[in-house]
Symmetry: C3
């Protein structure tokens, strides 16, 4: 068994940008020559998240709409008093979704559904540059 490490650079343009990283993950798995194992992806930052989703224009609106229903933009957030910041909603949404996702590797390929992609979701109130940390372990 081996551990293989890689990164994916992300440049989001604005809040709620959803960026499909499935192709990059598939390339990393393919280059690794691993046959079976797991692929872990992580965002080091408290206002971004990783999701599995059918990456199509409708859901790119529907999923942010769900987040707006449960943590509205215009609500009071105590976080703003700590830093005189404006991204309380970004933080609570990111904590609920989570910063990590893990997928299987089988027969040398990343496993996911045909209509299931892996995406980075920008939850901060502006676009940002980030590095996703990818770790593969397997045979």
């Amino acid at each position: 068994m081996v551990t293989i490490t890689d990164t994916i650079s992300i440049h989001s343009k604005k809040e709620l940008d959803m960026i499909n990283i499935t192709d990059e993950l598939e390339s990393i798995v393919s280059r690794s020559k691993l046959n079976a194992g797991i692929c872990h992806v992580f965002v080091a930052g408290a206002t971004g998240a990783l999701i599995a989703i059918e990456y199509e224009p409708g859901l790119k609106k529907d999923f942010p709409d769900l987040l707006e229903r449960i943590s509205p933009k215009d609500l009071y957030y105590a976080h703003h008093e700590t830093w005189h910041d404006d991204n309380g909603r970004s933080h609570v949404r990111a904590s609920l979704i989570g910063p990590d996702i893990t997928l299987p590797i089988r027969n040398g390929r990343l496993v996911h559904g045909t209509w299931q992609q892996i995406a980075f979701l920008e939850l901060d109130t502006r676009g940002r540059s980030r590095e996703l940390i990818v770790t593969l372990t397997g045979d």
Copy 2:
């Protein structure tokens, strides 16, 4: 260290079916002869999810009720315009919960609480057959 791979077949009957897979996972861990490591489970499909829950009749209603509060059945979903489909709620619920869960293996057994089971949750608008992908890594 080794990687061991397996699958669990799921046949859900209807939307919001919650299927306890703890026994199957315990058997897979037991057969693996691993002493310590992790057990990763994944659903390859964008309208199913894996959860940890006390598997009892009350929560089998309460957890779907939570999903209905945050992404109601009768809401407008832009996803329906893409495919003339009816399962926008299924997708956003699945993306929020997540398609993967990872549990520890200790002393040759899957670790979970006495009143904490692992379940597949059907979020699509009809029953479906699916294969869960199980990957163990450890010693």
Copy 3:
């Protein structure tokens, strides 16, 4: 590659206690002498959760406020009829957030953002003692 196992003892005082475990995780990774790999943390219990969050007083209120919006304390929960219990909200919140989190290890250190900590969140209706299960795999 090796598997290294450890535990973290948690003593929560009351519902919604958020306990920062980042330092303990960093110590475990440091002691492991692993250079690269993953660090998996799990709570064996259906009324606790693990989150990534900026651990500061504002968000320690904002995140519980989000949970109260989506699964209010005073709602009817069918779970209470099963056990004549009072913690239906605890269960559904925990199942939504999830009992596990996995972080990368790079250059001998646990990877997380500067303003991103890992915390245990007590969701039960009273304080409890718990053991978190930590599993590292890597080189």
